[in-house]
Symmetry: C2
Subunit: 147 residues, 2 copies
DNA sequence: TGACAAACGATAATAATTATCGTTCAATAG
DNA sequence: CTATTGAACGATAATTATTATCGTTTGTCA
C-alpha cells in the first residue's frame, strides 16, 4: 500500500510549489530506488516499465525541475561542457550552483588534505579537488539574468 | 623571439611522444595565455586570429590529446552528461580519470572541512564536495576496454 | 630527399539536451 | 461535483557539444 509514500511526495511537492502528477510521482519513486548516479536515460528506461507511454522529454523536464527546486542534487554541478584548467597553481573551485561560474581559490584557504596515495579498495590517488558549492554574490541578489 | 617557447614545446612533445605541428604549437601558446577555464570554442576563436584556416575539429582533437597525455587538465573530469545524486548520506567521490566511473566514499574517511558559510568575496557556501581523482583498480590494470 | 604514417581541414554523424506545440490533466472556484 | 484554466504531457523538431570519416597535406626518420 503506497499510500504513505504518495502522501509524503504530495507534501514534498506542496513545500516546493509543484503540481502532483502521476508521472512525477512514479519518476520520484523510481529514482529513489536507483542507487548511485543514474543518467536521465537510465531513469527513462526504468520509468517506462511502469509508464510505458512516458516521454523522454518529460523525464528531462522533471529531473531538471527536481534539481532546480532542490529536491534532488546533481553529481557534477559544473557547466556541462569541456573546460580546460589553465591555473598551474594548486587551487580549488568556488562553483555557483545557479550561474555555474567557477572561480579559483588558493589551496591553502580551504584545508589541507591527506596525501595518501593508495586508498582501501586499491584506488590510486592522483590528486584531490574540492568544490565549494554555493551562490556567488551576483546570484545572491537573485537577478534573473545570470552572467 | 619565441625561440625559447618553441624549444620548450618541442621538448614537451618529445616527452609525450607527440609530433610537433604548427597548429599544436600555436594552440598550446594561445591556451597558456588564456586564464581561467576556457572552452574548446573559446580557444578556437582565439587561435583563429593566428591561424584563420584552422578547423574546430583540430582544436578538439588536440585539446583531447593534451588532456589524455597529461599536458593539460580538465576542470571537471567527470562523465560529461547529467547524473543525479541518489546517495542521501554525506559523502564524497572517487573519480577514475580514465573510465570516468564515480564511486561514493563516506565523508568521514577523507577529512573534516570548515563549516564557514560565508567566504571572503561574499560567496555563500551551501556545501563542500571533494573529488578524489585517480585510477580505479580496473584501469590500473590498463586493460584497453574500460567498463 | 623520399616514403609513409600521422595530422589537418571540411563536414557528416552522433549524443545529449532543450524548445515547440497541440492535446490532456490537476487544481480550484463555484 | 463539475467547469474552467493554466500547467504538464507526449511527440518530435531543433540545438549544442563532440566525435568520426575521409581525401589532402605535413612532419619524421631512414
Amino acid at each position: 500500500m503506497p499510500t504513505e509514500r504518495q502522501a509524503s511526495f504530495r507534501q514534498l511537492c506542496e513545500e516546493h510549489g509543484l503540481a502532483v502528477t502521476h508521472q512525477r510521482q512514479v519518476l520520484y519513486e523510481v529514482m529513489q530506488q536507483m542507487p548511485g548516479h543514474p543518467s536521465p536515460d537510465e531513469v527513462y528506461l526504468r520509468v517506462r516499465k511502469r509508464i510505458p507511454s512516458i516521454s523522454l522529454a518529460t523525464v528531462y523536464k522533471n529531473i531538471r525541475l527536481f534539481l532546480d527546486s532542490g529536491i534532488l542534487q546533481e553529481v557534477s554541478p559544473h557547466h556541462g561542457s569541456l573546460r580546460v584548467e589553465m591555473n598551474r597553481h594548486p587551487h580549488h573551485h568556488l562553483v555557483c550552483t545557479r550561474c555555474k561560474r567557477i572561480t579559483d581559490i588558493d589551496e591553502s584557504s580551504i584545508a589541507e588534505l591527506p596525501r595518501r596515495k593508495k586508498l582501501a579498495g586499491g584506488f590510486l590517488v592522483q590528486r584531490y579537488a574540492i568544490d565549494v558549492l554555493g551562490l556567488c554574490v551576483e546570484c545572491q541578489a537573485d537577478n534573473p539574468s545570470a552572467t
